[in-house]
Symmetry: C2
Subunit: 227 residues, 2 copies
């Protein structure tokens, strides 16, 4: 019961660590050996002080007066995020979005490996996407068991997302990213991250509209004549 140090990493920080990891991978491929918080922050689109605070949750990992060693920091981040060794995932629903995700080479280099691509449409089965053949969705339980998969990505139509989710959970999956526009119901102990691709567009539409607002009455429900 004695926790030596409650160095809990805030979730907002975890999300940014993933971005830093991507940037660092790019720098490493470019042969860079060190980088300052300012440069890394601007490449990641965040402010430098925030970046340093984020990294501080991993304990000291830079060199004062110099910056951060690119390969060392990269490894540290990968370990912290749990992707030091490739993690096996399944992806259910090989529509446009599923294919896009499966074909995205970035995942491989970031510690994820799709060991199963599943689809209910027999016409799609056998198709090879990103080096892996699509299998029938009936193989779900087998694939999960074979590879000890704990992470799944759901890109099915909304109407079947919940039943796919139920099967995944029953098969032993404990972490799910859901792109279908429905809120999934899962038992305690299972994590679901809901991603809605259109939300960002709507936020943008809102901000865009705000820009055009310079002189507008308080009322939205009624327009009244001006004096």
């Amino acid at each position: 019961m004695s926790e030596p140090r409650a160095r809990v990493i805030p979730e907002a920080t975890v999300a940014r660590l993933a971005v830093y990891l991507r940037v660092l991978t790019g720098l490493a491929e470019g042969g860079r050996s060190s980088v300052s918080s300012g440069e890394l922050a601007s490449a990641a689109g965040v402010n430098p002080a925030g970046l340093r605070k984020d990294l501080s949750y991993l304990g000291p990992c830079g060199v004062r007066g110099v910056g951060y060693a690119v390969p060392a920091l990269r490894e540290r981040l990968a370990r912290a995020l749990g992707v030091e060794e490739a993690r096996s995932c399944v992806l259910v629903g090989m529509g446009n979005l599923g294919s896009a995700l499966a074909g995205y080479a970035g995942f491989g280099s970031r510690g994820f490996s799709f060991v199963g691509l599943l689809d209910a449409d027999p016409a799609r089965v056998g198709e090879v996407v990103g080096g892996t053949a699509v299998r029938p969705v009936d193989d779900l339980e087998d694939v999960v068991a074979e590879h000890g998969v704990t992470i799944a990505v759901v890109t099915t139509p909304a109407v079947v997302a919940q039943q796919v989710c139920d099967r995944l959970v029953a098969a032993g999956v404990r972490s799910i990213v859901n792109f279908a526009p429905v809120a999934l119901v899962v038992p305690a102990g299972v994590d679901v991250r809901q991603v809605d691709l259109s939300v960002e567009l709507q936020v943008l539409a809102f901000l865009d509209q705000q820009k055009g607002v310079h002189l507008v009455a308080d009322r939205e429900t009624e327009q009244v004549a001006l004096p």
Copy 2:
């Protein structure tokens, strides 16, 4: 200079309003006429009190003791989000992801209309996705001008995202959703929303890893023998 009421809507709320709008659209199609905060909240995956608070930024819009009128609330949300009338957008980069977004019927029903689908690959030009023909990326400035587009979606490879962005901004676009894994640099007055599809997966990997942690030493850098 006299603001009548600083009823500013927090950004986190705006993002959720977009989700409520989607749920309400589903309810409306199902013929529902009213809904309570509890039901709406569970369908949206949030807590009821938070939902009520979110809606309160739009001013009172429910009936006490009953709930919310579905069509009225839907209209109110659409207006608040700036999608009461369909907004014209361009999408640049018709790879897998671009095609997925362009083909997603949800956008049409949620107030967005892609008036231009652009790609640099001549092989893709002419292809019809979601009812719109793909045009060469050279038409970018023309399409933006023709339709007075202010919102753009970038789904190009990372290496060309910045130059595409520059052209969009020069053509008059003020709001951009960027799916390419680079931080775009834009002048003041232009909004960029960065979306990284792999971040959610990485956050999940982190949480998944945490679950397995029950007895672990403080040190990450060294493994020591146990007594």
